[in-house]
Amino acid sequence: MTENQDSVVQRVQRGEAFLDVRDLRVHFPTDDGLVKSVDGISFQLERGKTLGIVGESGSGKSVTSMAIMGLHGRGGARITGEIFLDGQDLVASTPEEVRLLRGKRMAMIFQDPLSAMHPFYTVGAQIVEAYRVHNQVTKKVARKHAIDMLDRVGIPQPDKRVDAYPHQFSGGMRQRAMIAMALSCDPDLLIADEPTTALDVTVQAQILDLIRDLQREFNSAVIIITHDLGVVAELADDIQVMYGGRAIEYGTAEDIFDSPQHPYTWGLLGSMPRIDRERTERLIPIKGTPPSLINIPQGCAFNPRCNYAHLNGGASETDRPELLDIGSGHKVACHLSPQQRQHAWETDIKPKL
């Protein structure tokens, strides 16, 4: 790590922000064709900030996070682009170099803690293992650290539970244990992939509070991946909306919720029943189904499902819109003119939400 001596020029070359993803593409060659799971996304994230990545299944959310963590393996995936973590390009690094970063500099919370934890080892043993890889300490010290971590995430009687197996924990406790494991080495970057999807609302609220508190304390950068807009609204500073392997809208949480620009984002907001508003008679779903990643529609990937595609004089079917800044960092990939979007949002969408 030489970031202290980095000159301005080097900063630009080696990533401006703490995490700087540039034109990341993850393609999987299969017998049926090339699956373009992630097809050119870029974003930046600073320490202490939270980025929410929102999208439906198959939009490339999880593949992005796995690429950052270096979990794709060299055999299957073709990864191009650059991922700078504090100036180090993870795509160009060897698997061994990335392995040393994993756990210490970046860590991940998985969706399903039952399959992400090893059923043969106690929870304590699994935390101790990760801690001792990165810290030269005795088993005894590491065990004490594991108990501290379990205590921090709110597991009762941590000195006893440390010797329990994952199946002896309830779903919420297991998720806490996994958060304890992810945080055991104070990672600078924490990626939470659908951390609360498998949990009940009351436990979800506890876990979200926990992630927020721990982030404040460790000042880490957090990426939260979810399909639940309520969860990102609570946690995220910035939000990236993904569709068909690309980012279609990027902005602050306020931008995305108060003045969304992309028809897909409108669709997501209209699809979910709102507990904080008057009950509507009908939900406004997005027609059709998400595209297959082998056969992404020509032009704008969303055009077959878009109610406004006909306004663009055929451009939606032929040209892929770029993610362009429409002012103050709010980016959108859509052919509609700003006036058309403004008009559609004010008249068609906003009154019905």
Binding site: E56, S57, P156, S170, G171, G172, M173, D200, V201, T202, V203, Q204, A205, Q206, L208, D209, H227, D228, L229, G230, V231, V232, A233, E234, A253, E254, F257, D258, G267, L268, L269, G270, S271, M272, P273, R274, I275, D276, R279, T280, R282, L283, I284, P285, I286, K287, T289, P290
Partner: protein
């Protein structure tokens, strides 16, 4: 939209209830799963999955059962469809006690009570074509359709928004939302009166979820269906239900119509549940007064005595640990089981403004 009329009265001599009349009533329903141990398989305890439920469902309404995992919602659904036999209590469907009917006697009734399953991947046989899956109910019940089974199935496919050409395809060729539609088509084949839907949309993406919710509502209007919906997403429940029953550890703690439950929740558990729902509104970030329940749901093998919620309740007092609060009607159409209920008519509320009221 039309599907072929089939002879709908499965049980001769029973007059079907009109809209708004009672279709199903449940009294003191109990289901304990025995835990056996040792060589002789002696019973050493029981999982008290459902422990004394009393409610009724009127024709044409949607009643939702909500609660955390392990509260007995799914078991209740399976008892209502008689996939499980109750340990005690009574289930009366259209005036007939079906709680202990034998499998053979139950079979004709299966026409009237159908189920939609949660997992659209696990509930369709991968080796059967869509036509065979949706046509199976006709074959099993020996129902003759006017223009043949194939025609009936194709009409059903159209009804749920699929194309009749899908008849010969296999489930793996469909997406999750489409599979759920196939499951719904199968459910509708025999024109049931009561549909128990066990988390029908929770496995689906947000945009598809809205399509399926709308479909279920359209079908209800078209065929006067009655739904018992089992769900954990409180926003979806508010959208679809007429009445909501909140369950905790095998008991109903509160049951009320939608508006009064969401606007004036009485049981502390309901209040906590509602306050925990994440709301997609950035203005609320950081200043939400959330009631944070500590810990997890206790084990139903050894539930806390008296009021089962007292271990996690912030209002609990000594009486909660000794006397079980009965489910009482505290306002018109609003029952709750609590010694110290919130939002009582005329009473002062001691809690922060709940989510439903915050505009």
């Amino acid at each position: 939209m039309s599907i072929e009329e089939i002879d709908s009265t499965a049980v001769p001599g029973v007059v079907p209830p009109a809209l708004g009349e009672e279709l199903l009533s449940v009294e003191g329903l109990v289901k304990h799963f025995p835990i056996r141990k040792g060589l002789l398989q002696r019973q050493s305890g029981a999982v008290q999955a459902v422990d004394g439920l009393t409610f009724n469902v009127t024709r044409g309404e949607t009643l939702s059962l909500v609660g955390e995992s392990g509260c007995g919602k799914t078991t209740t659904g399976r008892l209502l469809t008689r996939l499980l036999e109750p340990t005690a209590g009574k289930i009366v469907f259209e005036g007939r006690d079906i709680s202990h009917l034998s499998e053979g006697k139950m079979r004709p009734l299966r026409r009237d009570v159908q189920m939609i399953f949660q997992d659209p991947y696990g509930s369709l046989n991968p080796r059967h074509t869509v036509g065979k899956i949706i046509g199976a109910p006709y074959k099993l019940q020996n129902v003759k359709t006017e223009h043949g089974v194939k025609r009936a199935v194709q009409e059903l496919l159209e009804l749920v928004g699929l194309s009749p050409e899908h008849y010969n395809r296999y489930p793996h060729e469909f997406s999750g939302g489409q599979r759920q539609r196939i499951g719904i088509a199968r459910t509708l084949a025999l024109r049931p009166k009561l549909i128990v839907a066990d988390e029908p949309v929770s496995a689906l993406d947000v945009s598809i979820q809205a399509q399926v919710v709308n479909l279920l509502e359209d079908l209800q209007k078209e065929f006067d269906l009655t739904y018992v919906m089992i769900a954990h997403d409180l926003s979806v429940v508010r959208h679809v239900s007429d009445r909501v029953a909140v369950m905790y550890l095998g008991k109903i703690v509160e049951i009320a119509d939608r508006v009064s439950l969401y606007e004036k929740p009485m049981h502390p558990y309901t209040v906590a549940l509602l306050s925990a729902v994440p709301v997609p509104d950035t203005k609320r970030k950081g200043n939400v007064k959330r009631i944070r329940l500590e810990g997890d749901v206790p084990s139903p093998i050894n539930p806390p005595p008296a009021c089962r919620f007292h271990t996690r309740c912030w209002k609990a007092q000594d009486i909660c640990k000794t006397t079980e609060p009965p489910l009482l009607q505290l306002a018109p159409g609003h029952q709750a089981a609590c010694h110290f209920p919130e939002n009582q008519p005329g009473g002062e509320s001691t809690i922060p403004v709940s989510t439903a009221q915050a505009k």
